[in-house]
């Protein structure tokens, strides 16, 4: 029985007075790829942001890698526990080079001492970034920026990464590369929590999936079963 990496229990979140997450429960075993799917505004991004510590008002019980009470910790402390996060808008820091963006992912990590080595390794994994290390990061294409955001969030070799719509607005070739990368990360033992609009793509590499609607999880199933279940997909994921 693999260890539980993430366990979210009865998570609630609010923006001002609007009660956006209304009791979300989900989990991921170590080494799994787990997807959250659901239509626009269902609360997927809010779920990831709450787990990461970026939503001011939230309540519930979240345990990560054996540590309970995650919600009481600040965002930076969650990263230090081994929780990486790639936000939906990528958040490449303007004005910094590709290399500087990568270094940023290592500043707080014990791997900082081997910074040059780690960046070399990243450059091998992300050939597109390798040629552009000293380029200002904003000049990268959207897909390359997404690769950079992933490379940055995983530079410190986190135990788990949460990715918010990584394939959005990216050309198909790069989407292929990206999903191959996720498969490789899984092989290396990284747990992945994936939010995707590209439902078929996401389900095809996932172990399990949750369907979210109006701030709650409405369905949970093995990814393969959900992939075959057109009715559910139709009902909760069509825009």
């Amino acid at each position: 029985m693999p260890a539980q990496m993430l366990k979210v229990d009865d998570l609630h979140a609010w923006y001002d007075h609007s009660h956006v997450l209304q009791g979300v429960s989900l989990g991921a075993q170590a080494g799994e790829i787990v997807s959250i799917i659901g239509r626009n505004g269902a609360g997927k991004t809010t779920t990831l942001r709450s787990i990461m510590g970026l939503v001011k008002k939230c309540r519930g019980e979240v345990a990560f890698d054996g540590q309970t009470g995650l919600l009481a910790r600040q965002a930076h402390a969650r990263y230090s526990l081994g929780l990486g996060y790639v936000p939906e808008d990528r958040r490449i820091v303007p004005g910094l080079t590709v290399r500087e963006n990568l270094r940023l992912g290592l500043v707080s990590s014990p791997l900082k001492r081997k910074e040059a080595e780690v960046i070399d390794r990243i450059a091998e994994t992300f050939p597109r970034l390798k040629e552009r290390l000293d380029q200002v990061a904003e000049t990268l294409s959207g897909g390359e920026q997404q690769m950079l955001a992933i490379a940055r969030a995983t530079a410190s070799s986190p135990r788990m990464v949460m990715l918010d719509e990584p394939s959005e607005g990216i050309m198909p070739v790069l989407v292929d590369e990206m999903f191959e990368l996720f498969a490789r990360m899984k092989q290396e033992g990284t747990t992945i929590l994936l939010v995707e609009q590209n439902v078929e793509r996401a389900l095809s590499i996932s172990d399990r999936a949750y369907v979210m609607d109006h701030g709650v999880i409405v369905h949970e199933a093995p990814a393969a079963a959900l992939l075959a279940d057109k009715a559910i997909q139709e009902r909760y994921c069509s825009v």
Binding site: Q74, P87, V93, V107, A153
Partner: protein
């Protein structure tokens, strides 16, 4: 001869402007750094400058050594800045830009009054060290050695600050944090600690500016009030949040003020505001103004 003045006199006046501008640079750099990262408009910056001058008076009496005083003052004033950020400014984050503005505005009055009570309203003497007394020949004439030292010290400090921001990991975090605090947090960096350090750094440099200018301008409780206005003019001209802007605009304002006080002494006071208006008409974001620090 230009405008009836010999070239040498103009050149000396230019240096006088650079010395004056150096103090502006030191103030504007801190102001800009603090605004760029914390979005705090620090109205107490002039008071920290004043504290620096008084700390100088105190420490030189206590230590008896100018150079040691120069090293200790920024640390002491920075420590006050540390306390102010941690216990006064920090609770106001996330409430809008006007809260810390009002707080620092009030704090400036408190600090000035405390100093008035402790040291009196009279000006205090502060002499340059013997080694920097007198004047040196700079090719176009004799120029006060102390002012030359102020220019050089500012150049060294600005260079050190630039190296710190551009070449160190901590500098990288500061630059990134000024543009996107949230991503810095989710990459494991405790941004509130970075804010604390930057506030202390900015106020420490203001304190250094205070002690450096003490032998050139007199030391009195209100000395920070006018200089705060000047520092804001410089930051606006240079562009809020830009280190390069603070340097260029600081020197520019210093030179403009010093030149107008030669050609049209009555206009010296308003010349910097005229410059500011002119710059804002052409570039509303200031000379180097961009979003974020070090633009």
């Amino acid at each position: 001869m230009i405008g009836g003045y010999p070239i040498e006199l103009l050149a000396l006046q230019l240096f006088t402007g650079l010395a004056l501008g150096s103090v502006f640079v030191l103030l504007a750099v801190g102001l800009s750094l603090i605004f760029g990262l914390l979005t705090v408009v620090n109205f107490a910056h002039g008071a920290f400058y004043m504290l620096g001058a008084y700390a100088g008076v105190f420490f030189i009496g206590y230590l008896g050594n100018f150079w040691l005083t120069l090293a200790v003052v920024p640390l002491a004033v920075g420590a006050v800045g540390l306390v102010v950020e941690r216990w006064l400014v920090r609770p106001l984050y996330g409430r809008g830009i006007d809260y810390p503005l009002m707080l620092t505005f009030g704090l400036a009055y408190v600090l000035v009054e405390v100093v008035r009570i402790l040291f009196g309203a009279e000006g205090m003497p502060f002499d340059a060290p013997d080694s920097l007394m007198g004047a040196v020949d700079i090719g176009v004439g004799y120029f006060p050695a102390y002012r030359l030292f102020v220019i050089a010290a500012t150049a060294v400090l600005v260079l050190a600050l630039w190296l710190f921001l551009e070449k160190t990991s901590y500098g990288l975090v500061i630059r990134a944090g000024a543009r996107d605090g949230e991503i810095v947090r989710v990459l494991g960096i405790d941004i509130s600690r970075v804010w604390l350090v930057v506030f202390a750094l900015g106020t420490g440099v203001a304190g250094l500016a205070g002690v450096l200018s003490a032998p050139m301008r007199s030391v009195f409780p209100d000395m920070g009030t006018t200089v705060l206005v000047e520092a804001f003019v410089v930051t606006v001209v240079g562009g809020m949040g830009s280190l390069a802007g603070a340097v260029v605009a600081g020197l520019l304002v210093g030179v403009v003020v010093s030149m107008t006080s030669l050609f049209a002494p009555a206009m010296a006071e308003v010349s910097m505001f005229a410059l500011m208006a002119l710059v804002l008409l052409v570039r509303p974001q200031g000379l180097f103004g961009k979003k974020g620090l070090m633009g």
